[in-house]
């Protein structure tokens, strides 16, 4: 199945399952991923798929807190969990930061980068999810799991 362009999906077809705003503090991320995990469990999402979504969301939340908000708890990160009529899940994470260009990130599997201590988050998200879009100049990520 070829994915539809994200922007072409009518927003009215999406059901809001969870919407959380939280201060940009890494210690707050666990509660958000726990809440998402609970909703996914209620939806009977299989464990493997649930783990993949949870890890991708955790990476996106860390990026939003650390890079989007410079870990300033006076700033807020928003996380939304939605589903479409086919039961596909989309998670949207947004921050008030300046955004970034994900195409400029280094390949973490390049031999020069394999032993790096960082730089794998966005790559992991792309591997774990079925469709990933950056919007609003890079400070909003929309991640789909079919």
């Amino acid at each position: 199945m070829s994915p539809e362009p994200d922007a072409d999906r009518p927003q009215k077809e999406l059901s809001e399952l969870l919407k959380l705003d939280f201060p940009a503090d890494t210690e707050a991320i666990g509660a958000v991923t726990d809440a998402i995990s609970e909703v996914l469990a209620q939806l009977s999402v299989p464990e493997q798929k649930r783990l993949e979504i949870e890890l991708a969301v955790q990476e996106a939340l860390v990026n939003a807190v650390v890079h989007g908000c410079q870990s300033n708890p006076m700033k807020q990160v928003r996380c939304r969990l939605q589903s479409d009529p086919q039961g596909r899940i989309v998670v949207i994470v947004s921050d008030p930061g300046p955004g970034f260009n994900p195409e400029l990130l280094a390949d973490p599997k390049h031999p020069e980068n394999v032993l790096a201590g960082h730089g794998r988050g966005v790559y992991l998200i792309r591997q774990l999810m079925d469709e990933v879009h950056y919007e609003k100049g890079g400070n909003e990520i929309r991640m789909w799991k079919y």
Binding site: Q58, V62, P108, K109, L115, G117, H118, G119, R120, L124
Partner: protein, 91 residues
């Protein structure tokens, strides 16, 4: 992520600074490893190998193994079923 990774980083750094470069990390109670955890493991591996040591992993979850493979670092590590086997491998 966060304080958990920071705590482990400090523990490992203290061990390496104290001359312990043969390190066994038991992951049996870790359901998933995020990018910060992966970064810590590979830096620890590089640091110990520079000093003639190594890092051995024990009982990573199936999902943790999949994640390490996804980012291309699984082959860097030796994996063991239990702590004793990992420790004996240094002999």
């Amino acid at each position: 992520m966060g304080s958990a990774v920071d705590g482990l980083r400090q523990t490992i750094q203290e061990a390496v600074d104290g001359g312990d470069t043969r390190i066994v990390i038991n992951l049996s109670e870790v359901p998933m490893i995020d990018s910060s955890g992966i970064g810590l493991l590979v830096r620890c591996l590089a640091s110990t190998k520079q000093r003639g040591g190594n890092v051995k992993l024990v009982q990573p979850s199936k999902f943790a193994v999949q994640t390490l493979r996804l980012v291309g670092v699984l082959s860097l590590f030796e994996i063991f079923e239990n702590d004793d086997a990992a420790v004996e491998s240094f002999a």
